[in-house]
Symmetry: C2
Subunit: 120 residues, 2 copies
Amino acid sequence: MNTFIQQLKFNAEGLIPAVIQDQRSGEVLTLCYMNKEALQKTLEEGKVYLFRRSKNRLMLKGETSGHIQIVKEIFVDCEGNSLLLKVEQKVAGCHAGYFSCYYRRLNKDGTLVTIGKKIF
Amino acid sequence: MNTFIQQLKFNAEGLIPAVIQDQRSGEVLTLCYMNKEALQKTLEEGKVYLFRRSKNRLMLKGETSGHIQIVKEIFVDCEGNSLLLKVEQKVAGCHAGYFSCYYRRLNKDGTLVTIGKKIF
């Protein structure tokens, strides 16, 4: 797995973005950032770990809520500078209570309308 | 639309990441970066424009290949710092000839296996 990690291009902050997609529904849940350590723990444990930039620390996605993401498949893009993780989402992916963080859609008039499923 | 753009959080480089998803299949195609101008043009023309960091310039996705992305729906995440665009992909999304840039899957032994559809 170290060979895999060494092939990736981490940005100037040492992070790589990872698109998180619900495997069953195909719904895109969120975009998160991993440093090498977060990616290593994700690979070892099969659960999404991320580097929370606002808190400047490694964390298990869902560590307080229990809404973890079980990793099913990992893909890398053509440039090696982003990842796609297909997961099994427990309960909901967004701290605001929606299944996906992308619960607001842009209307033609420039306003946002909530169309996501509110789970909690 | 300017009100919408003003609500978004662009990073220190003036960019916002946008996950591009094929609307019909649900396949995640790529992750791109937009500055304000790229997003404005995307909204005006209904085709994906991006800021190509390696070339340091605005470009229409598919401007040389003709493999453009017609925007169908735009979503914003809970934090306002990333976008999800559902598109109609013309031909293929990846310059390497695959429908999606995420055409390589990580095996349990750490190697990458190509599972994507080769289109051209």
